[in-house]
């Protein structure tokens, strides 16, 4: 389908332009202006992304809304963007989360507001760029550039240990990315001077280089997902990030890793993927089971949710390496749903943190007596996090379990333990924080959620329920693309 209007460029660059406009408002005397410009920018960013869904043709697996211009000739790098059924939902998710993040920091961020809001808008545009790049170098530029705003967000507005967390986040991700860069340069050489991702998909590569390429990609994407055992930056980064930062990190940035597997690892190195799938499944199951147990032991709410994110993302990588449509589609649904749920969970913790400035479970207790409305929302999201049927959390996990039972009963058995562990750690935390008698005088002084918080949580609650009850629009959009990917994946490239 040809689309003359450069819609994708608009989706990428509009938030960035607004972000720069927000930076220009300068110091905190103009904080009011900065907030409104960012809200306008983020909502506009969401509005321009809507045609991406309405004009999307779900019956084809080819790239849509393609734009292709020469960027620099010397290395044959092109500004080549386009979306398919895998990237389109992720772009929409990102555009959807951005206004929520702006809303989450509305009154909470009081220092250097313009830099905070501007960084989020710029990052939103960059992430859209990552999801829509069809040129490896363009992808790499966006991918690395997304580190810069996040590094600053964690480091400037984070908690006491923010510097450690920010630098750990940056260096971990950079290590993976640099190896990916080498893989790209190698592919550039073997493909005779092309950085086009679609060329790489068709490129025949012998087994040994395929395995090396797969490992280089794995390091880049595994750090971002994050998979066990390279997940340790995530709890640190989450705990220290401000609420908005945590939401973006969990809802969006972790998806970059998952997206990378679908766009690069699997189609470029299918034989290596099959060859190493046992290892990948093992790593994923360790994440699901072992990290689930670790989450149970956390005393810090944000750390608990961070570990639960690692466990849920373990489901995503598990789904990818089952090589059947239930697995891959389930993983995609899980990614989108995790975006909503983890975002909502971090917002809920943020609501409490803004009031008491503590994330320790032990500092709370009996919150329901003071904040009944909040308790109801938190209940819904906790249940969704545990994978209750009827919420979006259930759909993805169920599909992945279905996919794995086709392959091996024990995979499915281990994966299914998440329904128990997930329920255990989430609901136990919920019980300790919300129920019981009012634990201390601080809790006694709590006020229920404000209008702003109510709106944010309502929007997320609707999304979680909607995908839980009627996931068809989502699965329909990605179905053809994933089928095509699976066919491609099951034919050898040797």
């Amino acid at each position: 389908m040809s689309f003359e209007f450069p819609l994708l460029s608009l989706i990428i660059w509009l938030p960035i332009v607004f972000g720069i406009a927000v930076f220009v408002t300068g110091d905190d005397r103009n904080a009011y202006l900065a907030r409104w410009i960012s809200l306008a920018g983020s909502i506009l960013g969401l509005l321009v992304a809507i045609p991406l869904y309405t004009s999307f043709d779900p019956t084809t697996s080819t790239m849509q809304f393609v734009e292709n211009h020469i960027w620099f000739e010397r290395l044959n790098v092109n500004y080549h963007v386009g979306v398919d059924g895998i990237s389109m939902p992720l772009i929409l998710l990102n555009c959807f989360i951005t206004p929520l993040v702006v809303g989450a920091g509305w009154e909470v961020i009081k220092e250097r507001v313009s830099q905070y809001m501007g960084a989020f808008l710029v990052m939103s545009g960059i992430v859209n760029g990552v999801f829509s790049s069809l040129d490896a170098m363009l992808f790499y530029v966006f991918w690395e550039a997304s580190l810069i705003p996040m590094f600053l967000i964690i480091g400037i507005w984070g908690g006491p240990n923010r510097v450690y967390a920010a630098i750990k986040f940056f260096l971990y991700t950079l290590l993976g990315s640099l190896l990916m860069l080498i893989a790209f340069i190698y592919l550039y050489q073997t493909s005779g001077g092309s950085f086009s991702i679609q060329d790489y998909h068709q490129l025949a590569i012998p087994m040994t280089p395929q395995i090396l390429i797969f490992i280089a990609f794995l390091l880049a994407f595994a750090v971002k997902v994050p998979m066990w055992p390279v997940h340790t930056w995530l709890p640190d980064a989450h705990v220290e990030a401000p609420t908005g930062g945590s939401v973006v990190l969990a809802a969006i940035l972790l998806k970059l890793g998952g997206y990378g597997f679908l766009r690069f690892s699997l189609p470029i190195a299918p034989d290596a993927s099959h060859f190493l799938s046992g290892m990948m499944i093992a790593l994923s199951l360790i994440a699901v089971v072992y990290i689930g147990l670790i989450a149970l032991m956390q005393a810090d709410m944000k750390k608990l949710i961070a570990y639960s994110s690692v466990a849920h993302m373990g489901f995503v990588t598990l789904g990818f390496f089952l090589f059947n449509s239930y697995g891959v589609e389930g993983a995609m649904v899980q990614m989108i749903s995790h975006g909503f749920i983890s975002g909502a969970m971090f917002l809920c913790v943020g609501v409490l943190y803004d009031r008491l400035h503590s994330r320790q479970i032990a500092d709370y207790g009996g919150v329901v007596n003071k904040m009944p409305m909040f308790a109801a929302f938190f209940m819904l999201f906790a249940m969704a996090n545990a994978g209750l049927p009827g919420t979006s959390g259930f759909v993805g996990e169920f599909m992945v379990i279905m996919g794995s039972i086709k392959l091996n009963f024990w995979y499915a058995f281990l994966a299914a333990t998440t329904l128990i562990f997930g329920a255990a750690y989430t609901l136990w935390m919920y019980k300790r924080v919300i129920f019981g008698t009012v634990a201390n005088p601080n809790v006694e002084r709590l006020n229920d959620i404000s209008m702003r918080e109510f709106v944010l949580l309502t929007i997320l609650a609707i999304s979680v329920l909607w995908i839980g009850v009627y996931p068809y629009p989502l699965t329909d959009a990605m179905h053809t693309t994933i089928d095509h990917l699976l066919i491609h994946l099951n034919s050898s490239k040797l």
Binding site: F72, R74, L75, Q115, A145, L178, L181, I182, Y186
Partner: protein, 481 residues
């Protein structure tokens, strides 16, 4: 015997420069104590004049003159233009710094111009003697510049180290050149290539000579293990001089390597390739690892230079025009970043206060968000993060290295640049995450502000649109090979 005067036209900018150096010295003598800016203005005029002359004599083909001792080709012209722009920027950045510290004297400007002349001669040399004369003119001027504040003990010590080690390096180089002369019987670089190609010379002697020449080059480039002088000199020299040493001479060093190794001894690629691999890996390792331990910003940047020189050498390893142009692109990117970084350090200096420690960057974002942002761009660029120019410089070099089949070397290079990212991040951390120790506003005149903003912007803009600069580097190399 008829005397045929040589063709002076290709060397017009060098001749103009030489005349103007004398004019600057004389003018400064007669200008007196209160009109030191005369020398400054004349120096800038000289650089503009040289730019015009180089443009006028811009040659798309290779022209030899002075019995083949001097060459003018497009690589030489482009490198010289880069040198003029860089020196001019250095002077604008350092004006306030040197006038605050009593260095605003004719000697400073005439030494800078002499050094510039040395670079120009090096870039255009096609004979060992010309090359050596240019190199010594540059080096001697630099020794004197480092020692310009003769009442400063640390600067005098740095100058002494610089001189002794530099003289040793020149000795190495001369010895190597004499071996090569012994083996081939010529000092002309173009004839040298032919003789080596015809294999009419003793290979053993040539290789021994080559080893000494490579050692001499490494000294000048401050590549490990010949890097010892760099941290001391960078730290000891007044920051304005450090800025000068760290920027424009890198172009000359690039020209030096091109003339000597590539044009002269390109046939012996099999012999020098391995040496450069070792030098490159050692430089990246020493530079990046030692930089982490530094608390003095100038010392840290010296180690950072060492690591960048290692990366630069990688560009030569692939031994094709693709690799050389990547190396040239790398030099341009590096000089652009160095200029901005040292200019920032000088901005942080005040009368009676030297910004020396990385701690001096603390809380810059609260003192002046705009300069903090520019430094942020520079630091990410030095670390090689896209979309800054430093990334494309690294990319181009890595691509050339992989193209030549050294994938393991590319992996080493990225691992070391990962280590390197840490100490650049530390500067950003200090600027953005920490609170300032002083609330004193950062004073700057409008020229510096505009130039520094343009410099920071160029790091970003040339990163987003690297095509023109990459094309220029490729043109410079291809047209002269």
């Amino acid at each position: 015997m008829n005397f045929i005067p040589p063709d002076f036209a290709p060397a017009s900018s060098e001749i103009f420069m030489l005349i103007m150096v004398c004019v600057v010295m004389l003018a400064d003598l007669s200008a007196g104590e209160n009109r030191r800016y005369v020398a400054y203005l004349l120096t800038q005029i000289t650089l503009v004049g040289c730019t015009v002359l180089t443009f006028l004599s811009f040659s798309t083909e290779t022209v030899h003159t002075f019995s083949g001792m001097f060459v003018d080709d497009s690589m030489a012209d482009i490198l010289k233009l880069m040198v003029y722009v860089t020196v001019s920027a250095v002077l604008i950045y350092s004006y306030v710094y040197i006038s605050d510290r009593g260095m605003l004297k004719g000697e400073f400007f005439s030494l800078v111009l002499f050094a510039t002349l040395g670079m120009m001669v090096m870039i255009s040399a096609s004979h060992f003697l010309t090359l050596y004369i240019g190199l010594e003119l540059l080096s001697l001027s630099l020794y004197a510049l480092v020692a310009l504040r003769r009442d400063s003990i640390i600067a005098t010590e740095a100058a002494m180290k610089f001189f002794v080690l530099g003289a040793l390096a020149s000795g190495f180089l001369l010895y190597g050149m004499s071996m090569v002369y012994g083996a081939t019987g010529t000092l002309h670089i173009s004839q040298l290539a032919q003789i080596i190609q015809s294999e009419a010379s003793s290979k053993e002697v040539l290789v021994v000579g080559l080893v000494f020449i490579v050692a001499g080059i490494s000294f000048k480039l401050s590549a490990a293990p010949f890097h010892m002088w760099a941290p001391d000199v960078y730290q000891g020299a007044p920051t304005a001089v450090t800025l000068f040493i760290g920027s424009a001479p890198k172009f000359a060093a690039f020209g030096f390597v091109m003339r000597l190794l590539i044009e002269g001894m390109g046939e012996m690629v099999g012999d020098w390739q391995g040496m450069l691999v070792i030098l490159a890996v050692m430089s990246m390792a020493v530079g990046n690892i030692a930089a982490i331990a530094q608390s003095n910003i100038k010392r840290m940047l010296a180690y950072s230079t060492i690591s960048h020189m290692g990366f630069l050498l990688l560009g030569f390893i692939s031994a094709d025009s693709n690799g050389y142009s990547s190396a040239l692109f790398y030099v341009i990117a590096y000089v652009l970043m160095t200029l901005g970084t040292f200019a920032m350090i000088m901005l942080l200096c005040r009368t009676g206060f030297e910004a020396e420690n990385i701690e001096d960057f603390k809380g810059l974002n609260k003192r002046n968000p705009w300069y903090a942002f520019i430094t942020l761009l520079l630091m990410f660029s030095l670390a090689g993060i896209p979309p800054m120019i430093g990334f494309y410089a690294k990319l181009a070099v890595l691509q050339a290295v992989v193209n030549a089949g050294f994938i393991w070397l590319a992996v080493m290079a990225v691992l070391f640049s990962l280590i390197g990212a840490f100490y650049y991040l530390r500067i950003i951390k200090l600027m953005y995450f920490d609170d300032p120790e002083t609330d004193e506003p950062i004073a700057s005149n409008s020229e510096v502000k505009i130039l520094l903003s343009a410099n920071g912007f160029a790091v970003l803009a040339l990163g987003i649109f690297p095509q023109a600069l990459m094309g220029l580097s490729l043109y410079a190399i291809q047209n002269s090979m």
